[in-house]
């Protein structure tokens, strides 16, 4: 159908791990590119990677299962707070802290998924907002564990693998985050092509039809939510470890809305779309907000309108269509 999926299909046949390899190569390339573009702002790239994991996480439930949510930052934020507290409490080994984030995210994902996927359509959307707001309110109130509006600070993890200290230029943070992103992305590339992933796409297309082939829809959606929570948890953990602080912004409504915008921008229901949407949006935002601090929101708005008008199914689909057009023309000539 799209250029992307035919590409993936042909490469499937050529080599069993072609898609996975393409994932690693792409992320490495993006990392190098980022390093060349923003050599003095690795902290920004590191933050970008954390958010990208949240966008990927959102894609699992929104893109692959059709769940409408505007409260996804809750999964990210709860994990970030859990990791922050664990680190302050004495668990300072980075890999272990990632594990803390994954567990916290999975539990938060399973609980909120169990509530949200009971409903459909607008009630579902409203419930997701309510859960997000509840978590944000709790983060504000429970200042003994979250630091309230001051944020949770003093998060100083040990060196990665006992070798690489988190330095003030964010070099370690950046490389560590990039490697984690590559691992998660490759695992997800495989996961979404599994029979389970295919069933989730079926449920998104037609819930009743999925039941009529014998599938229990609700438990599947809750499982997917838990997986999505785990991915968001990795993002939250990276964010807490590399920034050293966790603020209220990590559970905010704005965060939830922004990642949804990035996903739609890139193309929901496609991991590559989520990846590119997140990267393009955040780099655009970063550049524009630096060069034009007064009107950058206007420019971001204009970009979004342009994309919705010219590539309504997201950047990744638009690029795929363009690619196949050029490719076909080249083939004929």
């Amino acid at each position: 159908m799209t250029g992307l999926s035919t590409l993936a299909k042909t490469s499937d046949r050529a080599f069993p791990f072609a898609a996975e390899l393409m994932g690693i190569v792409s992320i490495a390339a993006l990392g190098v590119l980022g390093f060349l573009l923003f050599p003095d702002d690795l902290a920004f790239l590191t933050r970008l990677i954390g958010i990208t994991l949240l966008v990927l996480s959102l894609d699992l439930v929104t893109g692959y299962c059709g769940v409408a949510t505007l409260g996804h930052a809750a999964l990210f934020g709860v994990s970030a707070y859990a990791v922050g507290n664990a680190c302050i409490g004495g668990i300072r080994e980075p890999i272990l802290l990632l594990g803390v984030g994954i567990v916290a995210g999975t539990i938060t994902g399973a609980i909120s998924g169990a509530l949200i996927t009971r409903f459909r359509g607008l009630p579902q959307l409203v419930l997701s907002i309510a859960i997000g707001q509840l978590v944000a309110a709790l983060a504000n109130k429970l200042s003994s564990v979250t630091g309230g509006s001051d944020g949770l600070s003093g998060i100083t993890p040990d060196p990665v693998l006992g070798l690489f200290r988190f330095d003030m230029y964010s070099r370690t943070a950046f490389v560590f985050s990039l490697v984690v992103l590559a691992v998660v992305f490759v695992l997800l590339l495989r996961f979404v092509r599994s029979p389970f992933g295919l069933l989730c796409r079926g449920i998104r297309d037609d819930d009743l039809r999925a039941q009529m082939i014998g599938a229990m829809v609700y438990p599947r959606l809750v499982i997917m939510y838990a997986v999505s929570g785990a991915v968001a948890g990795v993002g939250g953990a990276l964010n807490a470890m590399t920034a050293g602080v966790v603020g209220l912004d990590s559970v905010s409504f704005e965060r939830s809305a922004e990642v949804l915008v990035m996903l739609v921008l890139g193309g929901a229901g496609n991991l590559w779309g989520a990846l590119f949407g997140s990267v393009v949006f955040q780099i655009f935002e970063h550049i524009v907000s630096a060069t034009n601090p007064f009107h950058w929101m206007t420019l971001v708005g204009l970009l979004l309108i342009a994309i919705v008008l010219f590539a309504p199914r997201g950047l990744s689909h638009g690029v795929a269509v363009l690619w196949s057009k050029i490719f076909r023309r080249g083939g004929r000539a």
Partner: protein
């Protein structure tokens, strides 16, 4: 008990509208039964009640002797009670092959697998290739469902039903919307089913009914007014009256 499916005094009402009333019948292994009746008689509603989409207002359903009246849809499907839809319901963004493959994988319990690639399963592939081939749509395997013609989607709907290895197969107007010259493929596919499964087919086309059915049920105004051979059905005065009524109704606005 040799009955595969048994309905006892099944009724379903929507508010005051009694769409199915006191319906009792049995399906035995090997049955090929046609369910006919005028538009709005309650045929689709009956299939909804049997398949679990709608709870009956009263009455009981048994499958192979077990009470299934309170079972959910997936549980009934796993016991072999399978239906198709009158208005096609498919996974619109997946390919034709993936639609059938998903049904096969679900039946085999493979959809609990998280890290094996769905397209790498040779026996699933052999099976969907065979099914699509039987219905003459093998060449459409790689096409996304939303891009298929409606008649092709109808055949795919049937392919999904067959992929679930049904014991009881309920077909809601499988030939409606299928181009006339392709309709025989539906009968051929049904004829190739294992002899011991029961098929109940709702159908308006009497040619198809005569070729397919050994027994005919007639539903009119929510009641079963006739059960017998296809030869007897045309002669029955009640059936004639029910159909004449609807025929006259259909003519009236003109």
């Amino acid at each position: 008990m040799t009955d595969l499916l048994a309905l006892d005094k099944v009724s379903r009402a929507f508010g005051g509208l009694r769409v199915n009333e006191n319906i009792s019948f049995r399906l035995a292994p090997g049955d090929r039964v046609a369910l006919i009746g005028p538009n709005g008689a309650g045929k689709t509603t009956l299939v909804n009640v049997i398949s679990g989409g709608l709870p009956p207002t009263s009455g009981t359903l048994h499958l192979e002797g077990d009470d299934i009246t309170r079972l959910g849809i997936p549980a009934r499907v796993r016991r072999g009670l399978v239906r198709t839809f009158q208005v096609t319901r498919l996974f619109a963004s997946l390919t034709a092959a993936d639609n059938v493959a998903l049904a096969i994988m679900q039946r085999k319990g493979l959809t609990r697998r998280f890290f094996s690639v769905a397209t790498d399963m040779p026996d699933v592939r052999t099976e969907w290739e065979h099914l699509l081939g039987t219905l003459g749509i093998a060449h459409l395997a790689r096409i996304t469902v939303s891009q298929l013609a409606y008649g092709q989607q109808r055949l795919l709907e049937l392919a999904i039903g067959l992929a679930l290895n049904p014991k009881v197969l309920l077909l809601d107007e499988p030939a409606a919307g299928v181009p006339h010259d392709e309709a025989p493929k539906i009968l051929e596919a049904i004829e190739r089913l294992p002899a011991d499964i029961a098929v109940l087919m709702i159908e308006h086309d009497m040619d198809l009914v005569f070729r397919f059915a050994k027994r005919v049920l007639v539903l009119a105004n929510g009641r079963l007014i006739f059960e017998g051979t296809p030869q007897a059905v045309t002669a029955d005065p009640d059936v004639r009256r029910a159909y004449l009524g609807s025929y006259a109704d259909a003519r009236r606005p003109a």
